[in-house]
């Protein structure tokens, strides 16, 4: 069974409680370990806060859309906003050092990149930006990939 769950919500941080809960519930159902569960939830929240803040600029009329695709052996999460995107190629080449205390910001993408197995950005001209997060799951989780506990 292709377990795809979609959730769409206005660009308001208030809704991130829901995202956190849904994410936790889906990942728990995939029988991931505790560390993996945390890594996925943290990364999805980072992607969503970027979508709300940088993508949709907190405009509540613009939605954020998250697609969770539970495939055998991996979980793919797509986070879409309606913004213009950014020059992610050059950003990814020079990700700032996260341990630098001079910087109060700029750790979101670093965290996603280091916690997930794959991170992809895509600008859909006139259509927003899509961030794709992938996590490989252990073999036992692959079989459970069909559903949620």
């Amino acid at each position: 069974m292709a377990g795809t769950v979609v959730i769409e919500f206005p660009s308001d941080y208030k809704f991130l409680n829901i995202v956190d809960l849904v994410c936790g519930e889906i990942v728990e159902g995939l029988c991931c370990g505790r560390d993996e569960t945390n890594e996925i939830a943290i990364s999805v929240i980072e992607a969503c806060t970027n979508a709300i803040e940088h993508g949709n600029r907190q405009c509540p009329e613009e939605n954020v859309r998250i697609v969770f695709r539970c495939e055998p052996g991996r979980l793919i999460v797509e986070v879409e906003d309606r913004g213009k995107g950014f020059d992610f190629k050059s950003y990814l080449e020079h990700i700032p050092d996260p341990s630098n205390l001079q910087h109060l910001r700029g750790r979101g993408i670093y965290i996603m990149k280091n916690m997930m197995d794959a991170l992809r950005f895509e600008v859909m001209p006139g259509n927003g930006m899509k961030v794709t997060l992938e996590k490989n799951l252990p073999e036992t989780a692959a079989d459970a990939g069909s559903g949620v506990a």
């Binding site: 941080y13 991130l16 409680n17 956190d20 505790r34 560390d35 945390n38 890594e39 939830a41 943290i42 929240i45 980072e46 806060t49 996260p98 341990s99 205390l101 910087h103 109060l104 910001r105 750790r107 979101g108 670093y110 965290i111 280091n114 916690m115």
Partner: protein, 114 residues
Amino acid sequence: MRIVTREKSGVVILDLQGKLMGGPDAEAFKGTIRKLLDAGCRKIVVNLHDIDWINSTGMGILISGYTTMRRSGGDLRLLNVSDKIQSILYVTKLNMIFRCYGDENEAVESFETP
């Protein structure tokens, strides 16, 4: 986020509640730290027990508090760090910087031995 301030053996404990994620939270937190510094406080424990969730921007708020305190010869230490927050600290290597405690008395007493 809500911030409740209390004192224990010369250490100020900040109990944070809710989500810690930049925006207005950053101003509120900075304001609290500034007032405490003005009042002569140099030892702060931030209790994260009732934080529902945090993101990297929220982590930035803690960093700003930490650097402000250090610059004034004080310190800011963390109490009740959930595994999620621990993972963020770890991946960003900020675990090398923040001292974390699981017990309130231990956190307070940690200021006695330099």
